[in-house]
Amino acid sequence: MSSLLEIKNLKIFYPQKSRTIIRRKFGKPAVDEVSFILDEGEVLGIVGESGCGKSTLAKAIKGIIKFNNPYVKVTGEINFQEGINCRKDVQIIFQDPYSSLNPRHTLKTIIEEPLLYNTTFSKAEREKKISEIMEKVGLSSAKLNSYPHEFSGGQRQRIGIARALITNPKIIIADEPVSALDVSIQAQILNLLNEVRKEFNLSMIFIAHNLPVVEYISDRVIIMYEGKIVESGKTDKVIGNPVHKYTKELISSVPEYEGKKL
């Protein structure tokens, strides 16, 4: 098996609000019969509108879906290639660079944390690693004792990337990493992601609602609608020659693609 990750018939149900505790009842699945594989070194884009289940899927792959709602029901299989330790080798980059960094921790504490829990590095080794990674993502080491609120959105997202990269992961799940950023910063972050992906030989699941961004960065793309995969394939094929009705509508809605014949 050459694929790093294989997902089979994944279904995720959230308990219905009104009876979360007393008698749990599940409604329509948020992720419905989703199956796909992630190959080594590829970028897999997942596109869909808000509420289509793409973020839920990301959390389920990383295994953190039950943190905020312990009553979520997950069925199906998520299989990593042998030798992949999900906690260390799979890291997630969050959408909102403002809420995903602890406001009371310094940069050093934030970036160091994954090392503390996943490695047995000494203090000196950790510090070396931190300054390496800071340099890589374009942050000055002089800022190690600064707090997140001293940084702009783009810089915070760099911190988030540094935190994700520090354990030398094999898979990065980027959940809308640029959608909260200013236009002029978006390109910087996309370039950075592309750069580190090549350098660390990472595989990436790139989740976004912005089709042109996904088109630029990913090799393959999955289009999700109401929890289901409606279309998937090579990026240029799906966007150049969409088959499903929803994909067509999605593409025709993007202002950049205006005038494109379908």
Binding site: I185, Y216, E256
Partner: protein
């Protein structure tokens, strides 16, 4: 030419006070005008002052922001010199506004239709029945199915796109001459965004003597529906041009950078062209040209503040290169 102007903003400056009560120039000596029957796009990133400009026009500035100088001329009246009770006659009647997040702009405990009726009642003397009739017509106009039924719906039972349509209905309820839309589609899904933009365009096309200001950070939207564009950075107009020309031959290095850095249609094997650095805080804007610390074409003269120049007809750029 003069007759053609709907709204003119002259030398507008809006300042903020920070913790140490230094004045931060959020909008700095801003000049622009809005022609009749056009959609004017104001493009800028966070902190460029675009939203504050819109709020100044309607007198809706937050408490810590202050208009230091300037005139906003609408039909020979300076809106900034009006008293509060006089401005109310304009707000909603002559000039109305759509905000970014429809879910929080609507009153959650009031029926959607009643919020439209309320807007009509504020500026007319129609009977209750007529007002309701008119509200339902408006709901129909903004493309809400089953308007009679939806009149009695509460905002939480409607989707984001529906709520934005209701906001639009409220905004056009009194046949305003100017509609200001502040990031009207940013919080909506792409497919909904497309339909809302289409609706705005329709509304503009079927009216006479009606103009729209569309504030956004999304260049693609501007390209799609605006006639003329203003690019703002650091509280100042950096470039002003007809939309097509702006995209075909951008002049200001900032505009070029913005247009270039959009990933659409770019070669995957190469890095995206990018603008270096970050949008500076208002307190740490560089002296001289505001963009000078990030500009790839910066040279010695950029330490001085460039003036805005008309380099071609109706094409204005604030840059020492021209």
């Amino acid at each position: 030419m003069k007759m053609n102007k709907m709204l003119e903003v002259k030398n507008l400056s809006v300042h903020f006070k920070d913790e140490k009560s230094n004045s931060l120039k959020a909008v700095d000596d801003l000049n622009f005008h809005l022609n009749k029957n056009e959609i004017l796009g104001i493009v800028g990133e966070s902190g460029s002052g675009k939203t504050l400009t819109a709020y100044s026009i309607l007198g809706l500035l937050p408490d810590d922001a202050k208009i230091v100088s300037g005139n906003i001329i609408y039909k020979d009246t300076d809106l900034l010199r009006l008293r509060k009770n006089e401005l109310i006659k304009y707000r909603g009647k002559e000039i109305s506004m759509i905000l970014q997040d429809p879910m929080i702009s609507l009153n959650p405990v009031m029926k959607a239709g009643e919020q439209i009726s309320e807007a009509i009642a504020a500026h007319s003397i129609l009977s209750e029945k007529e007002i309701k009739q008119k509200s339902i017509e408006l709901l129909n106009k903004v493309g809400i199915p089953e308007p009679e039924k939806r009149y009695n719906s509460y905002p939480f039972s409607l989707s984001g796109g529906m709520c934005q349509r209701i906001m639009i209905a409220i905004a056009i309820a009194n046949n305003p001459s100017i509609l200001i839309a502040d990031e009207p589609t940013t919080s909506l899904d792409v497919t909904i965004q497309a339909s809302i933009l289409k609706l705005l365009k329709e509304i503009k096309d079927e009216r006479n003597e009606f103009s729209m200001i569309l504030i956004t950070h999304n260049l693609a939207i501007v390209k799609q529906i605006c006639d003329r564009v203003i690019v703002m950075y650091g509280g100042k107009v950096q470039e002003e041009s007809v939309t097509r020309e702006l995209f075909e031959s951008p002049k200001h290095p900032y505009t070029m950078g913005l247009i270039e850095s959009v990933p659409f249609g770019k070669d995957k094997s190469k890095p995206l062209p990018q603008i270096q650095g970050n949008v500076p805080d208002l307190s740490s804007m560089p002296a001289g040209c505001k963009f000078s610390d990030r500009c790839p074409k910066v040279f010695a003269k950029c330490k001085e503040e460039p003036a805005i120049k008309e380099i071609e007809e109706n094409k204005f750029v604030r840059c020492h290169l021209y």
